[in-house]
Amino acid sequence: MTSLVTDTRTVFSRELRPTLRSPFTMIIAMVQPLVFLGLFAPLLPGDRSAALQWFVPGIIVMSCLFSASMTGSNLLFEIQTGSHERMLVTPLRRPALLIGRALKEIVPMVAQAALIVLVCLPFGYRFHLGGALLGLVVMAGFSIGVGALSYTLALASKNQEWLFWTVQQTVLFPILLLAGVLLPLDGGPGWLRTLAAWNPLRYVVDAERALFDGDIWQATTVTGLVAAAGVAAFGLFVGVRAMRTST
């Protein structure tokens, strides 16, 4: 018998297989955040290892957001060719279609996170393994939500690919900047901090910073988990609805 877990595994392994068969694409994707880190980190003021301590979890969250928001881009093509339709006719549970695809985007993300951390170790970066692992769980939850929303966006823009990319790019950067990934929000004006307070990614980023440092028993961990779970639940709700009503 199938369950949500086995269905998710079916979708996940189907999605991952082409990547595993040609790992070159994954390697290219992994270099990207390193370039970002190499060019941006030197601009950070103050002590270098303290700056890395603050900056590295943010970069990991950023690449995670980028990957998850791309979930729908593979789907766009599969909607056009007909393979998405074929998946919809199978008894696969609808949430499994969303979760499996989003999780596939997270696997390269885990490898990316490991690579970023490894590269930063010689420059004085230190992290807590348990905290980092819990941090990955929080990010996985967040990514499932973002992935499901990206999937929904692809369904909505199935005959007009430009719509997907326009919305994805337009939404991505404000969310990123309002989460304090690249620069701290503390010094910003009140209106900006108010906007940031409504941004779930902001709580995820705060949680990641604390978790990677090993501050596990903090309120930030709870708010981060709640924000990630909330985004996941919202994304799955919207995504499953979109699948049911999409023509």
């Binding site: 199938t2 082409p18 393979s83 006719v89 008894p91 023509t247």
Partner: protein, 323 residues
């Protein structure tokens, strides 16, 4: 196997499907025939749970397409208009995923995939990336995917569009064999007249979202059109005389030709020739034309199926695909 009541689908103001009542029994092979935009595919998409009906009900394989979607999906196979296999995937991998999606174990899925690869002649290409396959090969792979769980009911939406005549013949053969071997119930849509004619025992003609005729191809033709017998004579006078002799059969003379519309034309010609010889009116030429389903459509709607789109007739389409 299928039972619909007043099945309806509106897209904004367009009534794509306008109250279709349909009953398909186990083991039937049914073709939905109609021009582009008639509502064939929309009907199929509702029956396969892809889109919800606006109103009306449909029960497929014993389950409701709205309230019991998983039960319906578990029991049907669907081969859509596009390519079911992902272009970046390998054929065999897709067959395995498809088997897993229907709850098969890995070993069972492997065995079944190997079987289908073999029976559909995909042995040489199953381990290549789908994007490198030809159109005909991809179509065979689609069929293999639709059959992975040996469904009791199979839907095919325009299965042979874009295939060259040879591949179409292959495909039709596969479908007929499937039916002969496993007694699968098959519902297909097509706008190829000859396909509906040669494959299906039952043709449901759809136009403007409604069923306008539903019978075997032979009965549809006999009932709605009949055969046309054309008798040629040497003179107009002879033709007019023949019309009088055969007046009981309802012919009409025009010039040197007498045209008679009737059922079972070939059986009637010998008798006619005899009557005319006795009357001293020698016949110069005889032509019996059997109607096509297009003639049926023309009679029913006043329009020809061949007019509507670029690829609506039975002749090979320009866009050929090699095996």
């Amino acid at each position: 196997m299928i039972e619909t009541q007043r099945l309806t689908k509106h897209f904004k103001d367009v009534r794509a499907v306008d109250g279709i009542d349909l009953t398909v029994a186990r083991g039937e092979l049914v073709a939905l025939l109609g021009p582009n935009g008639a509502g064939k595919s929309t009907t199929l998409r509702m029956l396969t749970t892809l889109i919800p009906p606006t109103s009306g009900t449909a029960s497929v394989a014993g389950f409701d397409v709205v309230r019991q979607q998983r039960e319906v999906r578990q029991r049907i196979g669907y081969i859509g208009q596009g390519n079911g296999a992902g272009h970046s995937q390998r054929g065999r991998d897709e067959l395995l995923s498809q088997g897993r999606a229907y709850g098969m174990g890995l070993r069972q899925a492997r065995t079944r995939a190997a079987e289908l690869i073999d029976s559909l002649g995909l042995g040489d290409v199953a381990d290549r990336t789908v994007s490198t396959l030809s159109g005909g090969q991809r179509r065979r792979l689609d069929i293999a995917m639709g059959l992975i769980h040996a469904p009791e009911l199979l839907f095919l939406d325009e299965p042979s569009t874009g295939l060259d005549p040879q591949n179409r013949a292959n495909l039709q053969e596969h479908i007929l064999r499937l039916r002969a071997e496993h007694d699968t119930t098959i519902v297909l849509t097509t706008h190829y007249l000859d396909e509906a004619d040669s494959m299906a025992e039952r043709v449901i003609v759809v136009d403007h979202g409604r069923v306008i005729a539903d019978d075997s191809p032979a009965r549809l033709k006999a009932e709605h059109v009949g055969d046309t017998i054309r008798l040629g004579f040497d003179t107009e006078h002879a033709a007019a005389g023949a019309a009088t002799v055969l007046s009981g059969r309802g012919g009409s003379a025009y010039g040197k030709e007498l045209t008679i519309r009737t059922e079972s034309g070939p059986r009637q010609v010998p008798g006619m020739l005899e009557d005319l010889r006795s009357a001293g009116l020698p016949v110069a030429s005889v032509e019996v034309t059997r109607p096509t389903l297009d003639d049926v459509f023309l009679t029913l709607t006043g329009r020809s199926l061949r007019e509507g789109g670029s690829k609506t007739d039975g002749t090979p389409v320009p866009e050929l695909v090699e095996v």
